[in-house]
């Protein structure tokens, strides 16, 4: 993703906040730079899941790096290490562990990551982007098929497998489009924002129907 100054920009001012223990400035990361005591994550003005995991604010992220960082942070912040610490440190360790787990769940999922990233930016979406009529028809058709009893030898099963493949292909295309849209995204551009939101919606519709199709296929085969 481009590092253009005005793409996905956040306010550039660093959030200054002080250590609860030594009252010095804490700096980045979960530990005070002066006294090394654990700090509550997510308190800084510009802190977000991306910054907590040491990632640039962009849709395309290095998932390996994310996983690596999760393990690193989990090790450092595990509540077990704080069993003899003060109550405040115990609480912070617990809260931080919960926070990084939630952050990982958010960033590792393409849909949640896109939603989160859009939420960090500001701007308007056109009031009523049109629903994708063709996709809806296809989903309704698939939904009808799911209501029937499907025999392993029946032609319906073949149809369902074909529909599943078709939806997967749609999904791959939409994810590629989403990535492209984020790459060129200017948050003040309403058209771009609407295109992004629409693309994301379509991915969400596909997520539900494909989940149900897969459950049905597992049940039959």
């Amino acid at each position: 993703m481009s590092s253009d100054a005005d793409s996905l920009k956040m306010s550039p001012t660093e959030g200054h906040h002080l250590c609860w223990s030594c009252r010095e400035e804490v700096g980045e990361g979960p530990f005070c730079h002066s006294c090394v005591k654990i700090q509550k994550l997510g308190q800084g003005q510009d802190e977000n899941y991306f910054s907590i995991f040491g990632l640039d604010l962009s849709y395309d992220i290095d998932l390996n790096r994310l996983r690596q960082k999760l393990h690193e942070l989990s090790k450092k912040l595990h509540p077990d290490f704080y069993s003899t610490a003060s109550e405040i440190e115990k609480t912070y360790a617990r809260d931080n562990s919960a926070l990084i787990n939630k952050g990982f769940a958010t960033l590792s999922d393409p849909i949640k990551r896109a939603d989160y990233l859009l939420g960090l930016t500001q701007g308007n979406i056109a009031s009523n982007p049109k629903p994708p009529q063709e996709l809806f028809e296809e989903i309704l058709e698939a939904g009808e098929l799911l209501m029937d009893q499907i025999d392993p030898e029946s032609p319906e099963l073949k149809t369902l497998v074909t529909i599943d493949q078709k939806f997967n292909a749609y999904n791959d295309n939409l994810l590629a489009t989403l990535s492209e849209l984020f790459e060129n995204f200017r948050e003040s551009d309403e058209k771009q924002r609407t295109a992004l939101a629409t693309c994301l919606d379509n991915i969400k519709y596909l997520r539900t129907i494909t989940k149900r199709i897969r459950a049905k296929l597992d049940e039959v085969t």
Partner: protein, 145 residues
């Protein structure tokens, strides 16, 4: 959490499931969805003389509450005029089916589908400009992929 008898009845025996010819000038089609849960609802109305709704059909992909909400909506609108149908609110559906708070969005979807179907009918029958119709035809040719 227990669902009401009425809801279960509509879910088990949905009324008016099916389709009408969307190219029929007398038919209004409303297609709406809720991305977060992935529900999709299609509601169609056939409107006869004096703006009376003669027939209503629906297809819903979604949870039991979404199916029951759309089933109830089609049952209610039959025999009503457009004006009367426009007065149906999602809260009426919530009350009738005793929908729990987490399922209120299903009734909103049913109301939206109903409104969209009526709007489509009115647009088809002269209440929309030619330009809008052209735009609609163009929209139809756009694909999701």
């Amino acid at each position: 959490m227990a669902y009401s008898e009425k809801l279960l009845e509509h879910f088990k025996n949905p009324r008016n499931m099916g389709s009408l010819d969307k190219n029929d000038k007398a038919v209004g089609t409303g297609m709406v969805g809720a991305p977060e849960c992935g529900d999709v609802m299609k509601l169609q109305l056939k409107i006869g003389a004096n703006n009376v709704i003669e027939d209503a059909k629906f297809k819903t992909f979604g949870c039991g509450s979404a199916i029951a909400s759309s089933s109830l909506a089609t049952e209610w609108v039959k025999g009503k005029t457009i004006e009367e149908a426009l007065k149906i609110k999602n809260t009426d559906i919530v009350n009738e089916l005793s929908l729990p708070p987490v399922k209120i969005h299903c009734s909103v979807l049913a109301e939206d589908a109903l409104k969209a179907a009526l709007a489509d009918y009115m647009q088809k029958n002269g209440n929309g400009t030619e330009e809008e119709k052209d735009q609609k035809d163009q929209d139809k040719t756009e694909r999701v992929s």
